[in-house]
Point group: C2
Chain length 747, copies 2
């Protein structure tokens, strides 16, 4: 634990947005009600997983009283859009590729009329064969989902021509085949994971307004205001300054609110009708049309030597991208960053493919790919140790990557805290390798997780008010309480009290460009921009103080509203005086800071889970959970712990119960009765320990924490189950049915 | 006329806010309707011009169903507030000083209930003697309006103790008394002007919200968001970052929307009731409680020599400040800047006093003091020329201040365009000194006006969107179309099309500090800040282009979306590419610019008016009007001409019909039936000519134009009347009654 003495940084400050949220006054997209008339929009979505649209006849719907506008692809420019591969359209033209694909949209005086109108739109579909399985999609005889893929503006990477693979990547070091041949023992296994929905509480919602000057305003519950603004402007073929995206409060995102949903449809309806149009998805629509976590198929092969060293490994990963290739980016960009796991393996090859299927487009979800791959890696580590008769902790420790490790993608891993988090978790939980089965049907499991926290560019402005209080202007939305941490950074640098600092989220028209609120990067990216902007403010104050203090800036410090000469407490000048001088000379004090894309930082965590298994039903009950996480410096420890708790709960869901199930090519559980997320009864007591070691380049040494704590959850629980009942279910979720079957098979 | 070749600057671009205004979609304060319940606020205002409050009993009013909150001074911190002298309170404590002074405020479910509740508040007043005339207020026996004035935080200047004078200033050069003794002829006269209301179309209105976190949001129709925010925060005794002032669209201000009105009352009601509270003044309330143009009493004495030279002048000015000393600042700050007139007078003394009376507090109104003083100066110039038998134009020309003239306040007058505007007006109108009475009862008058355009600090941010379009972020409101000119400046520097530039007005929480929208200074102050911020953007783009263009920034230029090497058109790189580079390295491109308070710039104009007088009724009909104005460079000529037209119409009002009339210590004409502003039938054809000579330090050489064109209007019309009928009415407004009386007296 690093020692540091700050006034605000490192303190468990309550969230600055608590009051408005607790009072129910935070405005979510569904709450928006513009002055004057507003229409209710609904989207007609494809009932077929794959079909050609022969024609759309809206005449009957248009004749329905109360219907104000209906739009189809005819009302939009002929533009391919989409987050990465530009392979989709705001409204379908000739083809629909999953149940839920947008076909048309209606705006009406009431939601009921809009609903009725949807039923009166006559679409003539020619149904096409659907492919619902990633392996099937690889077959030569598989229907081709994107026959014109060659024409797409592929920004991720080139995909092989002529098939359904939309993204392919291979990274390697050494010669794994040769190393397998020389290994003392080789292990092979296949792990699979289900398609999992982010299950945020607030479904997607937006409000579209066509302004009198022809520009567009859209309010949306989004994690990615600037990126979404760009997509919308592109889809409408207007300049980016003609679209104002106003991010609303957001009732959970977890990666599921980065892509575009109904925003362009709402704007097209607003333009056509002349009224603001609000579209709020139902829970069912959100399940059908969201962008869930991809199901993975991971073939893992590991060669070890008798001295408990990892010699070689191959990972063959196939992920189900769904109808559009949002998830394709994972393969080219994200997987190489973490798929090696926390280990140093001399001979390694990672092959990853993303394939189109007729399922919802899979995309980002809290550490996308992370818990899936870690499930394979850490299950294998435990299995190998057991089969080889090794101490599983020693085996791991023996192979952890060293500080400065260079990954297959060429990135140097700084500040590797894997051993420290392992030790901290052992100490916290009292884990002993010989006590992983304390009683029959009870087990204790451990997993070491790794993740690389993001990455993207941000800018921020900090302005001083004329009484010396400060306001941080940012375009990033607050999903995690990070705005409180940003306020702490500003308060720390300017030596202000917390209530003298306001953090203001602005829309895309008003805010400097901001990163997406995803990728565990806001505190680093916006935090750095805010830190630089605040330092820019301080620099201006010090320059203004040179004359009154008769001292160089290097000798100055801020102290409770004064600039003073260090070590000479009598020599000080109030900031308010300096601001008066500024007004007379250089002008108002406004600081500006920016940070570009930066190297991703590795982050580690070790989790320990205790379970009790009912061998007759296969039901797993978690009885305890301990987590250590490498956090750099926790700017706000209570917020960091909240992130860890939340990630563990979400990890429990994907490990034990959550999966989107398709029957007859249709999603069978598009609701929270049939799609089971953990309730409070499913969550064990959780204890956490923050391993603090300042990150090389985070603000005050901070490191992102949103994603990493979900990574080791499935493997830790799976290993606990293994110790409890001696069987291993290799496909997530480990449902009672699967586990009971495995227990019976073993018996 | 200066030659300049710009792409956007100098072009008559239509206002960028036309569409929203023409579509009726611009949101004014009265349009605001927050989601959920909102209360209607009304203010109980003093019915007495001067009284002591013995007690306020709100019990009966509180018992009225539908009443949600009542506030008095008891609900507010004990704070003196006010724009300049901090001599008033948001709600009166022990004394009321004019009919309309705020005593209490009510919030109720409906405006009708609030109105009824006002009548149920029992205030026990002890009436005090009132003083309604500035000279009366100077008497020893006059009631003392502010007995504790010595305790006020006087920011303008010290006032003499023990009386009603709240501001006093004297400036002089040479020895006027001695010079009068040596002059060939000395002229003396007294001119007076009436109290004039700004008569904006939209009365004051605001909406106050007390946020769950205890901070305050207030929407207000204001010209001065940052200054008002400061006053409100001070009145509520909270830090400035805890008050967010959202400026609404503004239906006219003309200086009348700089002071605080009911904002603090609305916020106190919101805090007490728990609901947003909107207070919209009636027209009558706005007349009673506005901050009109002060009535002036000007004793002018002029010594001339026989060679038509101005030798000496004294001006003794007494202005009626009303109940609070908003207008006092004029005396200390504004009058010295322009009261010399456009002439160079070797011996000069200006004495100015502002005195408290029991009338509404007078404050800023388009060139505050300007038309009043110019009415005296230019009436005298014409009178003296006539009496001396001189050509009045030659007499003026003979005495105009030279370029580089140093005023009595020590300011150097750069870029003096007085002769040029005089010549331009003569040419435009065909004015000949021997043709000022073309027919009986018809006359032509001329006046030369001078004004010094402002001066305050501003900051701005310009950001590039990722397609290269730009957004200017500003905290200044657009009263005059100036945002269009700001957009032209940004477009010019970045070589963008107009529709690629957005100008965004932000609230005080989001915007960098901005000047008030007053004082003819926005284009200079915010224009300079915007120019610097845009140049900062350009500088960043050029730095990013060094590597791809292999050229130094000094050789680069922006051209339609590219940075290119000057003179080498083949060597260019798209701005969008540079923005991509920025994201990978330095971060998003955000430019910042600021300007401090600056030297005021002199501005000149010469106006010619044609009138026809009905000698039987005294009715004056304007038959033609010609105006030349010194504008630096007109960034947007059509906007500049609009300002000139508007100022002339307002000047016609104060010259011929407008005056707030007090009978029995009460305002007798608090409505637009009895207070007569010009209609379209009263406005003659107006022709303008813009005299362009780049200002020394305005952006692209621009100079403010909001105020100067009102300055010469009264004198030009008065001189025309003089030539038409041979008599001179020395008090404004020149009503038919006064003129008929003067004509009869002469006959």
């Amino acid at each position: 634990m690093a020692a540091h003495t700050y006034n605000q940084v490192g303190k468990p400050i309550p969230r600055i947005d608590n009051a408005s949220k607790l009072a129910g006054q935070a405005i979510f997209a569904e709450d928006l009600q513009p002055a004057g008339k507003m229409l209710h929009g609904l989207v007609l979505r494809s009932p077929h997983p794959h079909a050609r649209i022969r024609s759309i006849d809206t005449a009957r719907a248009e004749a329905l009283p109360g219907v104000r506008a209906i739009v189809t692809a005819q009302d939009l420019p002929d533009r391919l859009v989409g987050r990465y591969l530009a392979d989709e359209r705001a409204l379908a033209t000739d083809t629909v590729r999953f149940v839920g694909d947008r076909v048309a949209a209606v705006a009406a005086d009431t939601r009921e009329v809009a609903q009725e109108a949807l039923g009166l739109i006559d679409v003539d579909y020619e149904q096409l064969p659907a492919v619902m399985d990633a392996f099937d999609a690889l077959e030569d005889i598989a229907p081709l989902l994107h026959p014109r893929m060659a024409e797409y503006e592929v920004v991720a990477m080139a995909a092989p021509a002529g098939g359904n693979i939309c993204s392919l990547n291979e990274l390697s070091r050494g010669d794994p085949e040769k190393a397998f041949a020389q290994a003392d023992r080789v292990f092979e296994e296949v792990y699979t994971t289900g398609m999992v929905h982010q299950a945020y509480l607030e479904p997607h919602a937006c409000l579209g307004i066509h302004n009198p000057d022809g520009s567009f305003t859209v309010h949306s519950s989004t994690q990615a205001p600037f990126q979404l603004r760009g997509m919308i402007a592109d889809a409408l073929a207007v300049s980016h300054n003609r679209v104002r995206l106003v991010p609303t409060e957001i009732g959970g995102g977890f990666g599921g609110k980065i892509s575009m949903q109904d925003e362009v449809a709402a704007l097209a309806l607003a333009r056509k009708s002349g009224y603001p149009v609000r579209i709020v998805m139902t829970r069912r629509e959100d399940f059908l049309c969201g962008t869930p976590r991809a199901g993975f198929h991971i073939a893992i092969k590991t060669g070890v030597s008798n001295d408990a060293k990892l010699i070689a490994r191959t990972l063959d990963i196939l992920l189900d991208g769904g109808a559009y290739a949002h998830g394709g980016v994972l393969v080219s960009w994200a997987l190489p960053n973490f798929a090696e796991g926390p280990y140093n393996i001399p001979h390694l090859r990672i092959t990853a493919r993303c394939v189109y299927t007729n399922k919802p487009p899979s995309s980002a979800f809290r550490a996308p790919g992370g818990p899936q791959v870690n499930f394979a890696i850490e299950s294998e580590m435990e299995r190998i140790a057991a089969e080889m008769g090794w101490d599983a902790v020693d085996f791991r420790r023996n192979n952890l990557m060293p500080d400065g490790h260079v990954s297959t993608s060429g990135a140097t891993m700084d500040c590797v805290m894997a051993p420290e988090t392992l030790d901290a978790a052992l100490a916290l939980s009292g884990y002993k390798t010989d006590q992983t089965r304390p009683a029959p049907n009870r087990g204790r499991g451990l997993a070491v997780g790794n993740w690389n926290v993001g990455g993207m560019a941000s800018a921020a402005v900090v302005k001083l008010n004329d009484d010396g209080s400060a306001t941080l202007l940012t375009g990033v939305v607050d999903l995690t309480g990070v705005h409180t941490a940003l306020a702490q950074i500003v308060a720390e640098v300017l030596d202000l009290a917390m209530d003298q600092v306001t953090v203001k989220t602005l829309d895309t028209e008003s805010a400097p460009h901001a990163t997406i609120a995803a990728g565990s990067q806001v505190l680093k990216s916006m935090g750095d921009a805010a830190l630089r902007a605040t330092e820019h403010v301080r620099e201006q104050l010090f320059a203004l103080a040179v004359e009154p203090l008769d001292a160089p800036p290097s000798r100055m410090e801020l102290h409770q509203g004064d600039v003073r000469v260090k070590g000479a407490p009598g020599r000080s000048v109030p900031v308010t005086n300096l601001l008066g001088r500024a007004m007379a000379t250089s002008g108002p004090v406004v600081g500006q800071g920016a940070t570009g894309n930066y190297k991703r930082m590795p982050s580690f965590g070790t989790h320990v889970a205790d379970v009790e298994v009912d061998p007759d039903t296969g039901q797993v009950q978690l009885t305890g959970y301990w987590a250590s996480q490498d956090v750099g410096i926790a700017v706000n420890p209570v917020a960091v712990e909240g992130q860890i708790h939340g990630a563990i709960v979400q990890g429990i869901g994907m490990t034990l119960s959550e999966e989107m199930i398709f029957h007859d090519d249709r999603l069978a559980n598009a609701n929270f009765l049939d799609y089971k997320i953990p309730s409070v009864l499913d969550v064990p007591p959780i204890e956490t320990v923050l391993v603090e070691q300042p990150a090389v380049d985070g603000p005050f040494g901070a490191k992102g924490i949103g994603e990493p704590p979900i990574v080791p959850v499935p493997a830790a629980i799976a290993n606990a189950i293994f110790h409890a009942v001696g069987v291993r279910v290799t496909s997530l979720p480990i449902t009672p049915e699967k586990l009971r079957k495995a227990i019976r098979a073993k018996a």
